[in-house]
């Protein structure tokens, strides 16, 4: 097998497929990439058994067909550090790969392609399509609320709900929740939920951009597959039941505080300086047309911010984890933001003024 390719043509697809390869591996084959050349088409595959990324590229000139696996990280680092415009020649002989470029030579150990794990093929996938930028928007608006390593494993991912004509994304770690929806070409009678694992979500969002181009998404029993022009992304799904998110979204409520998103965000950011990893609590005191945010820490220090807001209700207090509020305010795009509250024991709903496609729910803290 022989491949002759220019550094710039190889680098980007190599970076993408290598990104799913974990640094610490349970089996040596998983730190390798599957490299396949058929005709002039070169296919690179990387996997961690949960997410699989396949890149396809057309080669020029004389190459020799074949299939082998090569160490992902090393090949990428070689490629990265070669000078711009370098011509790379990869020659496979028995269990060694000889990588040559100019006066550089590397001999790498290969593993047989037959050992490389294949994701099971999808049977009768359900297919739908949507704009690339809409999917990106959906993920960016919600992914920060996913749980990290929760024992409730079904929270360690992003829930996608397929409805007729639209796609909903919901993420929650059990303390806060983010929901966003977007138009999609979905022909479905009964809505359907899938949960994409955290890593799959993070890899997928890096692949897509803000373009108007249409994406095709396939959903199988256990997998989701997204095909981009040169890249195919496949992820396993989390097999579990996502909690009833509708039940925990409070009605846009009795108490509404309207204010400038940017000013509120800045005020909270400043008060959060005195919080620490263990004590993230911030007290909010509401008075007519005024919101006061205070943070105390165990060293008995105190931060206080006052902000004029549009509020005409009674005086009351509520506590929150300041990071959760900042995350939500960060995700809001509009200039004005509405904070809906019920009382100091119930969740708050944060929504951008006129931004009806996204909602953020945060549970309070007892301070």
């Amino acid at each position: 097998m022989n491949i002759n390719i220019q550094r710039e043509q190889l680098l980007k697809p190599l970076q993408i497929v290598s990104s799913v390869v974990e640094r610490r591996q349970s089996s040596p084959i998983l730190s390798n990439l599957l490299v396949n050349l058929k005709g002039n088409q070169l296919t690179l595959t990387g996997t961690d058994l949960e997410v699989e990324m396949v890149a396809k590229l057309e080669l020029m000139g004389n190459n020799e067909e074949g299939e082998v696996t090569l160490p992902a990280r090393k090949l990428l680092d070689i490629c990265k550090t070669l000078p711009e415009g370098a011509q790379i020649d990869i020659n496979i002989n028995d269990d060694k790969a000889l990588v040559k470029s100019g006066r550089s030579r590397f001999s790498l150990v290969t593993l047989p392609a037959a050992e490389f794990p294949n994701l099971e093929p999808m049977e009768e996938p359900f297919e739908f399509s949507m704009k690339q930028k809409d999917l990106k928007h959906l993920i960016e608006k919600t992914q920060f609320s996913m749980a990290q390593q929760d024992v409730r494993y079904y929270l360690n991912g992003l829930m996608l709900e397929l409805q007729s004509g639209k796609l909903l994304a919901v993420a929650t770690d059990g303390h806060r929740l983010a929901l966003s929806e977007a138009e999609a070409e979905i022909n479905i009678e009964e809505s359907r939920q899938i949960i994409v694992p955290r890593k799959g979500v993070q890899e997928l969002v890096r692949l897509i951009d803000d373009s108007e181009s249409i994406l095709t998404i396939q959903i199988g029993k256990n997998h989701i597959k997204v095909e981009l022009p040169d890249i195919t992304f496949t992820s396993k799904l989390i097999d579990g039941k996502f909690p009833d998110y509708q039940q925990v979204i409070p009605p846009s409520g009795q108490i509404v505080i309207k204010c400038d998103r940017n000013l509120l965000h800045q005020a909270f950011t400043r008060t959060s300086v005195l919080s620490n990893e263990k004590y993230r609590g911030m007290r909010l005191s509401m008075e007519p047309n005024l919101i006061r945010a205070t943070v105390h820490n165990p060293e008995q220090e105190e931060a206080e911010e006052e902000l004029e807001v549009d509020y005409s209700g009674d005086q009351f207090e509520i506590g929150f984890n300041v990071s959760y509020l900042l995350d939500a305010l960060n995700a809001v795009d509009t200039e004005e933001v509405n904070v809906h509250l019920t009382d100091s024991n119930h969740s708050c709903l944060i929504q951008g003024e006129g931004e009806n496609d996204s909602k953020y729910v945060v549970m309070p803290m007892r301070l």
């Binding site: 390593q149 024992v151 303390h175 309070p364 803290m365 007892r366």
Partner: protein
């Protein structure tokens, strides 16, 4: 002076206490022979027949066919263990439990109030006897190492005090196997060196010890001189709380290992609650037939003391482990500990969580087990193990 208190044949003695008609008969507490169970404890009548803990039940019953086998009632032992600890607590807050039936006490701060360490130790022993009807073996020494050896020398119902000035003469004739951390491999090296007693260990140059035993060598050498600087660490200041079990015969049956893991989880979470601590990092430890150990851990979103939450975490860690060999030791522990009072800032939950429901369940179970002796409450899957026994 440090006190080491070790209950005599604890599980079996509790069974005798609850069923006095069994007294004088050989008793084994443990899993059934048919389900390849292991002896968790045996009373002294049974021990005379050569039965000891960690022995397969089937072998124990061959040695002593008339022995009465009883299932493990962990919740009941935990309950009694709390009562014993309450007696310790009358004399000192510095209590370091090693397991349900064993603890170190540092009474240096209480001597002015309650008399000498010896007087305190005698009172504790007496109160355990009169109030709970159980016997304990007690050892007193200048440090943990001496106290622990002392308590073991005159079992059962022993009381051994090693005065400070007699520490060295007490240690010198003892065999090297009494040193902490001397197992099969270390013992073989001592054999090759012709070293049999502590006196011989301490007469070796420390450099020789380091050559043969690495970093561990210096520690062994110091122990042999009666030097042990480890403090008695009360559970409230502990960095982690853990339990482990070594099997007499390696086990590869996942179901059996899970049942054992559940017992360990109940013990650890009960200790957490008793110490008013919450932990965030859950660790699973497995040692395989070839003595290789692995540990797997997970850090939860927030600290917990709830049995069910810990169980979900540790059983998931276990599921993720492939058992390419049989297991000789299983352990679970919780670290990243906070005291309950640090939970002042409490984050409310969006969904009714296992934590809020299970917390109420744990509180109730602890209360019931503390109040009513025999109505032991524990989880069904560890009952199932005793039921199908």
């Amino acid at each position: 002076m440090i006190i080491h208190i070790d209950m005599d044949a604890f599980f079996a003695s509790v069974e005798e206490l609850d069923q006095p008609e069994l007294r004088g008969k050989p008793i084994i507490v443990g899993g059934a022979a048919e389900s390849r169970g292991v002896v968790a404890a045996a009373n002294y009548v049974a021990r005379k027949q050569g039965i000891h803990s960690a022995m397969p039940t089937s072998r124990a019953l061959r040695l002593c066919p008339q022995a009465i086998r009883l299932p493990v009632r962990m919740a009941r032992y935990i309950e009694i263990s709390h009562q014993i600890r309450a007696i310790f607590g009358r004399y000192t807050p510095i209590i370091e439990p090693l397991s349900l039936d064993e603890a170190f006490l540092d009474v240096r701060g209480s001597e002015r109030l309650y008399g000498s360490a010896e007087q305190i130790a005698r009172r504790i022993k007496l109160e355990i006897k009169t109030e709970l009807g159980l016997t304990a073996s007690v050892g007193l020494g200048v440090n943990k190492f001496i106290a622990k050896i002392a308590s073991d020398l005159d079992k059962p119902d022993g009381f051994v005090l090693v005065p400070r000035e007699q520490t060295q003469s007490f240690l010198d004739p003892l065999p090297v196997s009494r040193l902490w951390g001397v197992g099969k491999a270390t013992h073989q090296i001592f054999d090759r060196l012709g070293v049999q007693t502590m006196a011989q260990v301490r007469q070796l140059p420390v450099a020789v010890m380091q050559d043969y035993f690495g970093n561990h060598g210096q520690q062994l050498w110091q122990l042999a001189q009666g030097i042990d600087e480890r403090r008695v660490v009360p559970e409230r200041q502990a960095k982690s709380i853990s339990h482990e079990t070594t099997f007499a015969q390696d086990i590869s049956n996942r179901q059996a290992l899970l049942a054992c893991l559940m017992d360990l989880t109940e013990q650890v979470s009960s200790r957490l609650r008793h110490a008013e601590m919450l932990g965030r990092t859950v660790q699973l430890k497995l040692r395989f037939a070839d003595f290789k150990s692995i540990t797997r851990s997970v850090t939860l979103d927030k600290p917990t003391q709830t049995t069910e939450v810990l169980w979900q975490a540790v059983s998931k860690l276990f599921e993720q482990c492939t058992l390419s060999q049989a297991v000789r030791l299983i352990g679970m522990g919780v670290s990243n500990l906070h005291h309950e009072t640090e939970r002042v800032q409490e984050q409310a939950e969006l969904f009714a969580t296992i934590d809020s429901r299970q917390q109420a369940l744990d509180e109730l179970a602890d209360k019931i087990n503390n109040r009513f002796g025999k109505s032991t409450l524990h989880r069904a899957s560890s009952t199932r193990r005793s039921a199908d026994s």
